[in-house]
Amino acid sequence: MTTTFARPESLQDVVTHYCPGCTHGVIHRLVAEVLDELGVRERTVGVAPVGCSVLAYNYFNTDFLESPHGRAPALATGFKRIRPDMIVFTYQGDGDLASIGMSEIIHAANRGEKFTTIFVNNAIYGMTGGQMAPTTLSGQVATTCPLGRDTAKTGMPIRMCELLSGLVTPSYLERVAVHNPQQIIRTKKAIRRAFQYQIENKCFSLVEVLSTCPTNWGKTPAESTNWVEANLKSYFPLGVYKTPEEVK
């Protein structure tokens, strides 16, 4: 009998704490598959954020550092500067990366730090119970904007790929999604490319993944994937925002 589908070596054999229908798990698996395929598991160090993926280190079969809220890019910088031979990635939510950690991600990207960021954008604060995130859509309901986000008072949702692509330093920036099989395949390609660039020591690379939070969106898993397609994707257009080749 041939095995056609198995757990990647880069994932541990444990039970997940993520809610049913949450796509954090899909993203974990894609990262793990890529680490396996590139053969870098044994020299990889992940940096876990604060947010629902705070326990990412329980799932990946690689060394991990647990960062303060938003500071993963600074930890990754410190580590990678000393160990350029290792593969370093941060895994961060939108609250982590686009709110409290905005400064750290911009400066790490601008310095062209040679690590990879997996940016999970679910347009809400999951772990703390559904408060407004910097990426929460206009009119979207969250516990701290119960009547829907009023952008006149809170500003427009921040588009990180667009914002970072304004930087001159070579970077690989792509926005993808995981709400259907076709997008999942694309996401894996983007993650693979991001790590490949790191292996080639080319640039800072960030893959923004539109993710779901059925629990705090108050939707079923199926409604959630539809909502990504109908709402999230139109404000956060998918695509490649920058590649190192573009930068002379």
Partner: protein
Amino acid sequence: MAKILMKGNEAIAEAAVRAGALYYFAYPITPQNEVGEYLAKRLPEVGGVFLQAESEVAVGNMLFGAASTGKRVFTTSSSPGISLMQESISYMAGAQLPVVLLNIMRGGPGLGGILPAQSDYFQATKGGGHGDYRLLVLAPSTIQEAVDLTMQAFYLADKYRNPVMIIGDGMIGQMMEPVEFPDEHTEPPLPAKTWAATGASERRPLVVKSLFLDPIALEKNNIVLHQKYEMMKRDEIRYECYKTNPKNKILLVAYGTMARICQTAIDELETEGISVGLFRPISCFPFPESQLYAEATKPNIETVLTVEMSMGQMVEDVERVVARQRPVKFFGRTGGIVPSPEEVIDQIKQLLAAGTPAKAKA
């Protein structure tokens, strides 16, 4: 090795390199900028890393990442910068990471000023960040001592897997003195850094973290930390007595730059036939409690006078230790004003003129 004339900040930078700390992350702030400027040139020569971060918030966290490699890493800053690092200092203490931080203190609170002060004593010795943790805190009073303590600090950080803070002030950073660098380390060997993240090739993956969601596990970690601090209290007490003798009625207590000024005052008084002694904590945490108690409660001592470049911070430790066995008085200037030896002499003479105070209640 011959002595060379060096500025305090540069001597500390060179000491760090010689201690094998080749990885430096920092953000500019007066009055310690010479450290970064020196290392920007020096570290590339020895295959090290110099990185100017975007903020002290980032610096602290770069240290976390960098220390996780198991290499010797450090930063230097001054009061407002150290405040911004408190988040990461708490995390590094929680994750048991060895790092060395130098605080060349300036006047505060807030943006304060850029002149020398000792007003971050509470922050350094009592916390600053959240949670049950302590730093090992060392306070040099000469540039030579700053060099020696810097080199020791990296060893101690590794030994205890704990952040170590050196507190100096603008005077220590800016003045020039002849210094000698020890040729070799003579410290006992340290255990292998099996906790460092180096890739899960020949072992199970490991996590460098301060997160313990299970209260039993968190309490266990806090107990481990506490035992470490108790070990420091037993083994890492550093202090010096200057001209303490049975003729003294007054015992001065001061650290760092202020201790030097007190020494000048003591020498001056000696020429007038007045004999005064000084107790100088070198480790501010662990505080030399029993040693100070022994000096302060000698039968001849009538008053203990604590002198600081602050509104009174270490004096609380002195009061705690002397525990009403003797009256504890305080004299300090703040805002960046360094008390002169004459001011200290004046304080001492006033105390002597006031005569023996009624014996304090035990």
